[in-house]
């Protein structure tokens, strides 16, 4: 069965409180090379079907409607 691997992250320019806080913690722990930390979500969806285009359309739709909050988040996905 095809599997969609979906990454949901904040849109550019939106504050990422978790990422900022983790970055600061890493600084304090002595990891001086860390430039930026961004925290998002990873979601896997198993989906029925054979038509890749159709599957991609459906995944895109559920990302937009539910999995991501289009007000502040963006998403990317790969269907395998």
């Amino acid at each position: 069965m095809p599997k969609a691997k979906i990454y949901v992250t904040f849109k550019d320019g939106v504050l990422d409180p978790q990422g900022t806080t983790v970055k600061r913690a890493l600084d304090k722990m002595g990891y001086k090379n860390i430039e930026e930390v961004m925290i998002g979500k990873y979601i896997e969806v198993q989906i029925k079907g054979t038509d890749k285009k159709q599957i991609e359309k459906e995944i895109d739709e559920i990302c937009d409607k539910l999995l991501a909050n289009p007000n502040i988040e963006k998403y990317t996905f790969k269907v395998e």
């Binding site: 320019g13 504050l15 909050n69």
Partner: protein
């Protein structure tokens, strides 16, 4: 003037929403064409949200002075004297439009904003309250908004560690496309260490503290002043993400800075961000400010002065410190993981001067930008016109048939959306942190202890928008009376109020009439009850293509219980055998009630009468009876009338870890049965007293000239209500097991929101 300078065209002027002669006035003030940055600053400061141009002249008429008032309107929050070393700072604010677009973040950032208003005064926040209004809970849309808003409030307040101790949640169709999220915060401040939003001392550093500045919320102030349409919902850059952890750090750092006397003045970068904080602080201090945009911490590369000045990124503060104390300030901030960034200095010339890349991009006088008394400041002295819808708004009682089965009516009402229990809301909020919450949510008013003193604070938020819609004057007066009555039901004397005035577009003369009339009603009641207004917030343009909301002036009341024994009352019955007494008179009023809406499908008047004399007599009796230890429970009669008040007195103890207790009630009367059981006649309360205290209660009521009637006895596992018209024999109208009532009451809303 700088690389981002843009020619000011007619199109650009129009995009900034200037109306009438506002742009001409800008030309007069500046004596030249403004720069793009200046235009943006004028636009934000002169928006309805920041300038109060439609409302200021009416707000000025509110009573603002009284024995408790230490700080009236005009500062970040009002302050009242508790009679102890610690004074009480409090304020209410709306976050309606952001919550309608993005419920979680919108509501969360609303809590953040109101908390900052309180702690910038030097007050440690001790409680939050929230007043929420949505459409019908049965719709998917409302369920989505409800879940997001409640989650957002909880996530923020819980994380910062401020108990959310009381509130109201109302469902009416008119709020479907324009929900209302009003949040109130209360804090305690040492009377001698009150901080203010003021800039003073030429040469003093202007310090930026908190989160970075991003592009979020640009023109949020303007955004709050437009109607919601599909097009505005696409304006997604206006959504700000809340960072409650940053808020907690800011809170602790700010209080420590104030405690260590390192602060000259401090203000939240709220609506219109750096623009409003810099101009308002300068104006209050009679000075100016120079700000270097290059020094402002930015989240994104390439942000220009216009964006930086207008950004509404959350969790940021502007502070003026004493020159030479920068190191001490930095030390406190470093401890809390924050940085002090000096972005400018206080200057003598009363201008805000903004520099970017070494060049001046704005240089404007602060007075005409901020002072509503300035002759070029926008003013909209609108005159209201009585709305047409009020023409045929009142029912004739004779046209409404009393239902045959009043028990069935009672069942429907007790499970109806506005009456059913909202424990699923407050259980998502930490309402016990700080260990001061004496009366938990689910009683008329919440009571918080001031440890180590003889004082407790009682507080409540209230409004009945339907009343205000059907009769703006009475609705306004009742909102004040009900919040004061709720506070009085706990035994407290109301001291002062803050209000959040939610209305449709003030440019509509009929809506403006609602505004004028309801404010007149509030004035009347606030004067009579001696509860001055210490500030608040006006939220206009609460409308959508489906129409305006009900005029909704939400009142946040603060009262004090001052008593060595710290006696207070809650709404639920305490002991079997106690006598139930009705305080106040029953009148033949069914208009505007929940009953008329739910059972007869009518949103019609007349709104119940409100007589200030009766209201004062009731509140005095409640207070004296509670203070003397006579009254054991007190519950005001509101939505759903006498029968619902009795039911809640029976069952709500369970929410407070007590047993449920039944009641046997007999009422003799000369009015309609439905008026008696479900009418919402004002200035009434249900109290319980032990039998031997009946006489003492009667004496107190006589002294205050209040009508009272013993109507029953506490006990059993059922609620039984019998009525008798005049001299006829008693007839049983309601006889239900408490468990059944409780089941209906607990699931009325819960069934839709899990």
């Amino acid at each position: 003037m700088g690389k981002y300078d843009i020619e000011i065209t007619k199109k650009i002027i129009a995009e900034h929403g200037f109306k009438d002669n506002e742009y001409e006035n800008i030309l007069k003030i500046m004596g030249r064409v403004p720069t793009y940055v200046e235009l943006g600053i004028f636009s934000a400061m002169w928006s309805e949200h920041c300038s109060y141009k439609h409302s200021k002249h009416l707000l000025k008429k509110f009573p603002t002075k009284g024995k408790y008032i230490l700080q009236g309107p005009g500062e970040n929050a009002g302050i009242v004297d508790s009679g102890t070393k610690m004074a009480v700072a409090f304020k209410i604010e709306s976050h309606n439009h952001p919550s309608a677009v993005e419920p979680f973040q919108g509501a969360a950032t609303g809590i953040g904003g109101i908390l900052r208003d309180v702690f910038t005064m030097g007050a440690r926040p001790i409680a939050c309250l929230d007043s929420l209004r949505f459409g019908n809970i049965k719709t998917k849309k409302t369920q989505h908004l409800f879940a997001g808003v409640v989650d957002g409030i909880g996530a923020y307040g819980n994380c910062v560690g401020i108990p959310t101790i009381a509130g109201e949640t109302i469902f009416e169709d008119v709020y479907e496309d324009n929900c209302l999220v009003n949040a109130m915060a209360i804090g305690l401040v040492d009377k001698n260490k009150i901080a203010k939003g003021i800039a003073k001392g030429v040469g003093n550093p202007v310090i930026y503290i908190g989160s970075t500045t991003g592009r979020d919320g640009i023109h949020g102030a303007t955004f709050a002043s437009v109607e919601l349409t599909e097009a505005t919902k696409e304006k997604r850059s206006s959504v700000q993400v809340a960072d409650p952890f940053m808020e907690k750090l800011l809170l602790e750092a700010t209080l420590e800075l104030i405690e260590k006397k390192l602060v000259v003045g401090i203000q939240d970068m709220g609506a219109a961000g750096l623009t409003s904080s810099s101009t308002e602080m300068s104006y209050r201090g009679g000075v100016g400010m120079e700000i270097d945009i290059d020094k402002v911490p930015k989240r994104e590369k390439g942000m220009n002065a216009y964006e930086v000045m207008l950004s509404e990124s959350q969790e940021r503060m502007l502070m003026v410190a004493t020159k030479g104390k920068e190191k001490a300030v930095e030390k406190v901030l470093t401890k809390w993981g924050l940085h002090a960034v000096v972005i400018g200095k206080v200057i003598k010339k009363q201008n805000v001067v903004i520099k970017e890349g070494g060049k001046i991009v704005a240089d404007m006088p602060v007075e005409p930008v901020t002072d509503s008394n300035h002759k070029l400041f926008p003013r909209k002295n609108q005159i209201g016109v009585k709305p047409k819808y009020l023409k045929d708004i009142n029912i004739k009682n004779a046209d409404i048939k009393t239902p045959e089965n009043l028990e069935a009516t009672f069942k429907t009402l007790v499970a109806s959306q506005n009456i059913a229990c909202k424990n699923m809301v407050w259980e998502e909020y930490d309402h016990m942190v700080q260990t001061n919450t004496i009366v938990l949510p689910g009683s008329d008013a919440a009571v918080i202890d001031m440890k180590g003193t003889d004082v407790m604070i009682a507080t409540s938020v209230d409004c009945n928008g339907r009343y205000t819609y059907l009769d703006p004057f009475r609705g306004g007066a009742i909102a004040v009376c009900e919040s004061a009555r709720n506070v009085a039901c706990s035994g407290a004397e109301p001291a002062a109020l803050t209000n959040c005035l939610n209305y449709g577009s003030p440019e509509n003369k009929e809506i403006f009439w609602q505004f004028e009339q309801s404010l007149a009603g509030m004035r009347l009641a606030a004067k009579a009850l001696k509860t001055p207004v210490t500030g608040g917030n006006v939220s206009f343009y609460n409308e959508s293509p489906s129409g305006p909301i009900y005029p909704t002036p939400v009142i946040g009341m603060i009262g004090f219980i001052k008593d060595k024994k710290k006696r207070y009352a809650t709404q639920f019955f305490k002991t079997a055998g106690d006598r139930i007494v009705l305080l106040g008179k029953n009148k033949d009023e069914i208009g505007a009630s929940e009953y008329l809406k739910v059972i007869h499908g009518l949103i019609k008047g007349p709104v119940p009468e409100i007589e200030m004399k009766e209201e004062i007599a009731l509140q005095k009796t409640l207070r004296e009876g509670i203070k003397k230890g006579i009254i054991k429970s007190a519950h005001d009669i509101s939505d759903g009338g006498l029968s619902i008040a009795l039911a809640e007195s029976c069952i709500s103890g369970k929410l407070h870890g007590k047993k449920i207790l039944g009641a046997y009630v007999e009422v003799r009367h000369a009015i309609r049965e439905d008026s008696l059981l479900f009418g919402e006649t004002q200035s009434r309360a249900i109290v319980s007293v032990s039998e031997d205290k009946l006489e003492a209660l009667k004496k107190i009521a006589d002294k205050h000239n209040l009508t009272i009637m013993e109507i029953g006895k506490v006990g059993g596992d059922s609620l039984i209500i019998k009525t008798a018209k005049e001299k006829m024999p008693y007839v049983e109208k309601i006889n239900m097991k408490l468990l059944e009532i409780e089941n209906l009451w607990m699931n009325g809303v819960k069934q839709y929101v899990g």
